[in-house]
Symmetry: C2
Subunit: 207 residues, 2 copies
């Protein structure tokens, strides 16, 4: 995937039961040359960890300031610490011409579009039907009915977020591989998008 | 390529020297299930030809009226007769869920977008550089310098039309196959576009 200079930030999300984890794993297998981003965190560095290798280390205050300034593409809190992806890190990778695959929570898609603009393409993964999604959520078989109902409600609400996503990919049962290939096709197509190729056309005319 | 109901009208164009003919042929080989449209013409039916099989037969007046009404996606004149693709024919094919590949002249791309809207995706094929395009045009070696200069000028003007195309694909020398695969990826990605998938999401909620 050449010809334009910057990489694509390919954002993948999907509600519980969409099979997102499996599809992203398969996609990374299909596309081993995708860039890998180093996360930022507000937790203390551990023995032997290096800045910019394991994490970018920030104080809580620094991290919160970065969030406010729209410099954090997505983040989560865990054990009282922030973990997230910095815009600067995404741009470093795309600036090298590499594509970056980011797996995020459903509510983060429009945020990333706002921050990254046309440099990002967002993909929502969904189960083929509400019935199938329910079957998948129940399939684990270890949770109480109350927990399952909660998940179903949340998944239903999350699917409505699809309206804010650039692409919607259906993860048919037993076809996670095809699904990963579709997302790879989306990355390819994004590279050929008019807005990305205009730079190339200008160079064509030596402008 | 399932899940949404309508097919994509994939329009391919490119200036002389872009290698459009070869790429379209390879693409049809990669994608034999694409729909095939029957053209309309203002020439008389010949012995044994059938309406809707060989052509849709129109009088000159009918054809011109259809053009005026925006019912003709693209057309050309040859030997005093019109030949073209009707919007109704394209919609018949996409309505069956089949994709339609249309190879057209460069100046027709924005016209088709106007008529078909988001149902069409337009791809401009270009040579990797102005120098390579010139080399390809000269490569035939049978034309006078004047003819070549005329073609170069025209190609240069045509490439500027790229701004009106959805996608721009570079046909690197010796890589027509990769180029056809990129266009196939674009068709796939178009199917997963938000605006096409919204119908699916509505069905998901039984709306």
């Amino acid at each position: 995937m050449n010809s334009d200079n910057r990489g694509v930030v390919l954002v993948i999300s999907g509600p519980s039961g969409s099979g997102k984890g499996t599809v992203v794993e398969l996609l990374r297998g299909l596309y081993p040359n995708a860039g890998v981003s180093v996360s930022a965190t507000s937790r203390q560095p551990r023995e032997g960890e290096q800045e910019g290798v394991n994490y970018y280390y920030k104080t809580r205050e620094e991290f919160e300031k970065l969030i406010e300034e729209g410099e954090v593409l997505e983040y989560t809190q865990y054990n009282g610490n922030y973990y997230g992806t910095l815009k600067s890190e995404a741009r470093r990778i795309t600036g090298e011409g590499k594509d970056l695959i980011l797996e995020i929570e459903v509510d983060g898609g429009s945020q990333i579009k706002r921050i990254m603009g046309e440099e990002a393409a967002t993909v929502m993964l969904i189960a083929p039907s509400a019935e199938e999604q329910e079957r998948r959520l129940r399939g684990r078989g270890t949770e109480t009915e109350e927990v399952i109902q909660g998940r179903l409600q949340r998944a239903r609400a999350e699917i409505k977020e699809a309206v804010n996503y650039d692409y919607i990919v259906v993860n048919e049962t037993g076809k996670a591989q095809e699904c990963a290939e579709e997302i790879l096709a989306i990355i390819m197509a994004e590279h050929r998008n008019n807005h990305r190729m205009m730079k190339y056309i200008r160079e064509y005319f030596g402008e």
